[in-house]
């Protein structure tokens, strides 16, 4: 488990074959961002930003009025990303568009070896209307399948154009690629925001504010965990490991046994951190989680965290999962994969 230093910039890589909707997603992120994003794109021509939102445009870099910049990778990827890292004011988040025939994981690896960066997520988009045939295509099937191999999140896009049976077929085609893939169904008008971890973006808000999911309740499910108790630190670490991959983020206050002050827990994917909370008077535990729509029942999730409570004297083994073997196998797969992604530094 890595507790990332605050100075690192999260990186999200957006992949997917041609026509999957990468640019639509990036346009959406650029326009709606409340944080300062740097977005690296393959083709400027496709970026469709209202002229009134563009503060500056100097050929290779477009600066928006909300502080975000959008850079063309045309002049060389290594050089372009280098320039972004050298910017005087560090960006809140770097979003990199992988080429339509590229493997997004190759780019994601940069965030694993560059100490000033950390990997937030690999998001791969798929055009629901043709992903099934693309995966079977004799020329590009292997390319498309590779793109999903290390995806944290799949946006199954253009789902609104399909009938129910076709939508299910598209979903199944992706599910069959790999156990434990997180899938969110999207359309041009229902693009999600970036799932972000404990970065400076989130930490601008105090923990008592619920994570804002109002705009996309349809794709995300929320889970609240409230206890008048405290966690045992060691057992909490084990419990966090055991949370299912469908949980994208978790945030809130908690008490730790033997510590006077409350702690702020922030978790995103494989990353979590515990830091002293701003509000010392906070008592008990209040955590809010966001997951995708097949997030297991709240009761199942509660049980996992309950094992870390100080009042739970006898810690049960992982038998808690036994009543849902499918879920467990997904969880196992995901965790072994996550370990594989983390370099031992």
């Amino acid at each position: 488990m890595i507790t990332s230093p605050a100075a690192t910039i999260p990186v999200t890589v957006v992949g997917g074959f041609l026509g999957a909707g990468k640019t639509t997603f990036l346009n959406h992120l650029l326009k709606t961002s409340g944080a300062r994003y740097a977005v690296l794109v393959n083709d400027f021509g496709a970026v469709n930003i209202d002229a009134s939102l563009i503060a500056r445009h100097d050929g290779a870099t477009m600066t928006l009025t909300n502080g975000c910049v959008c850079c063309s990778i045309g002049g060389g990827f290594i050089e372009t990303l280098g320039k972004i890292l050298d910017d005087k004011i560090p960006f809140d988040h770097i979003i990199i568009e992988a080429s339509g025939v590229g493997d997004p994981w190759r780019i994601a690896e940069i965030a694993l070896v560059e100490p000033s960066l950390r990997l937030n997520a690999v998001i791969v988009l798929a055009d629901a209307s043709r992903i099934d045939s693309l995966l079977m295509d004799s020329r590009v099937g292997d390319t498309v399948r590779n793109q999903f191999e290390r995806a944290d999140l799949v946006l199954l896009n253009k789902i609104d154009l399909l009938d129910r049976a076709s939508a299910r077929a598209a979903r199944n085609a992706i599910v069959s690629l790999r156990d434990g893939l997180n899938i969110i169904e999207t359309s041009q008008h229902t693009m999600p925001d970036l799932p972000v971890g404990p970065s400076r973006i989130v930490s601008r808000f105090s923990a008592s504010e619920a994570i804002d999911v109002a705009n996309h309740e349809r794709q995300f499910r929320r889970w609240s965990y409230r206890r008048n108790d405290a966690f045992d630190r060691v057992r909490l670490e084990i419990a966090l490991e055991a949370l299912p991959p469908q949980l994208l983020r978790l945030k809130g206050h908690c008490r730790l046994a033997g510590e006077a002050n409350a702690s702020l827990l922030q978790m995103m994917g494989q990353d979590w951190s515990l830091t002293p909370a701003d509000v010392a008077e906070q008592t008990g535990i209040l955590l809010v989680g966001v997951g995708i729509d097949d997030l297991p029942d709240a009761a199942d999730l509660d049980t996992i965290l309950d094992r870390a409570l100080t009042s739970t004297s006898d810690v049960p083994s992982i038998s808690i999962m036994n009543n849902n073997s499918e879920f467990q196998s997904q969880g196992t797969q995901f965790h072994s994969l996550r370990e594989g992604q983390i370099p031992c530094r």
Partner: protein, 548 residues
């Protein structure tokens, strides 16, 4: 003949012009050829001066290298550590290095003369395949220095080896499982780096990639010098973003009277949208001069065969390796091809594997059906695995091909053993098929990937022998010396749409000559590569090749 005409006399002039194949005298005025013939025919009553310095030499049309890169000029600022002999722009024969000890010794030599103790030492041209599949380790490079960063770039340009200091500084010194970090026998990183993540990190630590900095006039001069050493008078730079800085350097160099090569840069399609690319080429073309010829665009469809990144048709790689990578998606290619085709721009399309060749042929066919265009001369570059059926499609579509003949020598053995297997390897870079089918073709070096040397490239196409001595498909795919000479002169010019200006010694064309010690047609075919190049004449300006 007027006073400002100069007549070169030579032992022999091989013109590559079928209507007057041989001569002894060529008259030059204003950089162009005004007459070709015998002393009696062109010197008779004229007051022109005669320059007989070539009286013992043989003149050929200046060689045309249809596929090479400006990087050849940039590399030679760094020590070369490849396995084969190579000639530097200074004309020096740089010996190939047969083993790791020899490589370490050359690096030690280079290190000893460096003045700044902090400056990284870069070297290039390493290919483990040619020294018994042994790679360099960080421990090998630590023998050169433990205090100076060292990076050895492979011949493929995609892989590099660094010393322990670089790994430490990049914090890549402990085992990680990112895909580009090769782990040695001891379980620790070996110092071999592949892929973009490790490259990014290392170049950040080293303060930049020595090969991606701004192009300088020294780089361009080295390139021109390399060309002169090999008898090349027209040279491509077949994949370039053509950033403003590059365009400025090219412009300034090409306008110098002493600049000794004609440059043909190709715009890299990947760095521009089609609209931008078309616009840019139009603007650049208007700045052309007699030594700078913009106008062509380069598309890269797949990777390389020996790197297992080329796209192959069924049954794929002989050793069962997974199929390679698309750099342009098959469904995207028709749109790009159609846009440039309709804009009247000539395309040079990199396709190594036969599946990539197939999608390129499909795209050009669709573009031709939608908007027939006579004499487009779209050219497949490398096109190493095409079979007779694909050559027949090229012919039917009016296409040209530029085959990578040097591969037969450098990677013929790996193609035979690993990538293609015996049957397909025997028709690797099928010059014989191209000749029989009637597809206009050139042959090339892709320098600096393999050495810039058209006579060597011609030797490869004539002899079809690999570096281990294996002969590959000579009976059917070898071409004659005469045909090979055409492929490095007039036919290469044809693939660049410059055959009205260069490629033969013919009235009206530029006075561009390769000055040789012997007539390549008169030496034994297996000695073709050993014909000595004295230098060049470009637009009437004589340049003796440096000899170091």
């Amino acid at each position: 003949m007027s006073q400002d005409t100069l007549i070169f006399s030579a032992r022999k002039i091989v013109t590559m012009n079928p209507s007057r194949p041989e001569a002894t005298h060529v008259a030059v005025r204003d950089g162009r050829i005004v007459a070709v013939g015998s002393f009696e025919e062109i010197c008779g009553a004229s007051g022109a001066k005669i320059d007989d310095r070539f009286k013992d030499k043989v003149l050929l049309p200046g060689f045309v290298e249809g596929h090479s890169h400006i990087m050849e000029g940039m590399m030679w600022s760094l020590p070369y550590v490849g396995a084969f002999d190579r000639r530097s722009p200074e004309g020096k024969l740089v010996k190939g290095l047969p083993n790791v000890d020899a490589i370490v010794a050359r690096l030690q030599e280079a290190e000893a003369v460096m003045t700044d103790p902090e400056a990284p030492l870069f070297a290039w041209g390493f290919d483990p395949l040619h020294i018994g599949s042994i790679s360099l380790t960080r421990q090998d490079l630590d023998r050169v220095s433990t205090t100076r960063p060292i990076m050895v770039i492979h011949a493929s340009f995609h892989i590099s080896n660094v010393n322990t200091l670089v790994l430490k500084r990049a914090e890549l010194d402990r085992a990680t499982n990112i895909s580009g970090l090769v782990i040695g026998k001891d379980g620790e990183p070996s110092g071999e780096l592949q892929g973009i993540a490790a490259r990014f990190r290392v170049f950040r630590v080293l303060g930049g990639n020595p090969l991606s900095g701004n192009l300088t006039s020294a780089d361009v001069d080295r390139y021109a010098s390399s060309a002169c050493v090999q008898g090349v008078t027209t040279v491509t730079d077949l994949h370039n973003d053509l950033a403003d800085q590059t365009v400025e350097v090219y412009h300034a160099a090409s306008r110098r009277a002493d600049f000794s090569v004609r440059l043909v840069p190709a715009l890299a399609s990947v760095s521009h949208s089609q609209e931008q690319g078309i616009e840019k080429l139009k603007a650049l073309k208007s700045s052309n001069n007699d030594k700078l010829h913009y106008g062509i665009v380069k598309l890269v469809v797949d990777g390389s065969i020996q790197g297992f990144t080329a796209r192959l048709r069924w049954p794929g790689y002989h050793n069962g390796a997974p199929n390679g990578l698309w750099y342009i998606a098959p469904e995207e290619l028709p749109g790009i091809v159609a846009a440039y085709h309709q804009a009247g721009i000539q395309m040079h399309i990199h396709t190594n594997g036969d599946e990539a060749t197939e999608v390129a042929l499909d795209a050009v066919e669709a573009a031709q059906v939608a908007a027939p265009r006579p004499d487009h001369r779209h050219t497949l570059q490398h096109c190493q695995m095409a079979d007779a059926a694909q050559f027949k499609r090229m012919k039917a579509l009016g296409m040209c091909v530029n085959l990578f003949a040097n591969h037969v020598y450098y990677w013929g053995d790996s193609h035979y053993d690993l990538t293609m297997g015996p049957e397909r390897a025997s028709r690797l870079d099928a010059t014989g098929t191209a000749q029989r089918v009637g597809v206009p073709f050139a042959i090339h070096s892709d320098a600096p990937v393999t050495p810039l040397s058209p006579l060597f490239t011609a030797w490869c196409a004539v002899n079809r022998v690999s570096s281990s001595g294996r002969v590959l498909g000579k009976a059917t795919e070898a071409i004659s010396v005469e045909q090979a000479l055409a492929a490095i002169t007039i036919n290469a010019a044809y693939t660049l749409k410059l055959d009205h200006l260069v490629g033969s010694i013919e009235v009206g064309k530029y006075a561009d000559f390769a000055v040789l010690d012997q007539d390549p047609r008169e030496v034994a075919p297996e000695k073709l590569k050993d014909v000595a190049v004295w230098g060049t004449v470009v637009g009437g300006h004589v340049r003796e090749a440096p000899r170091a």
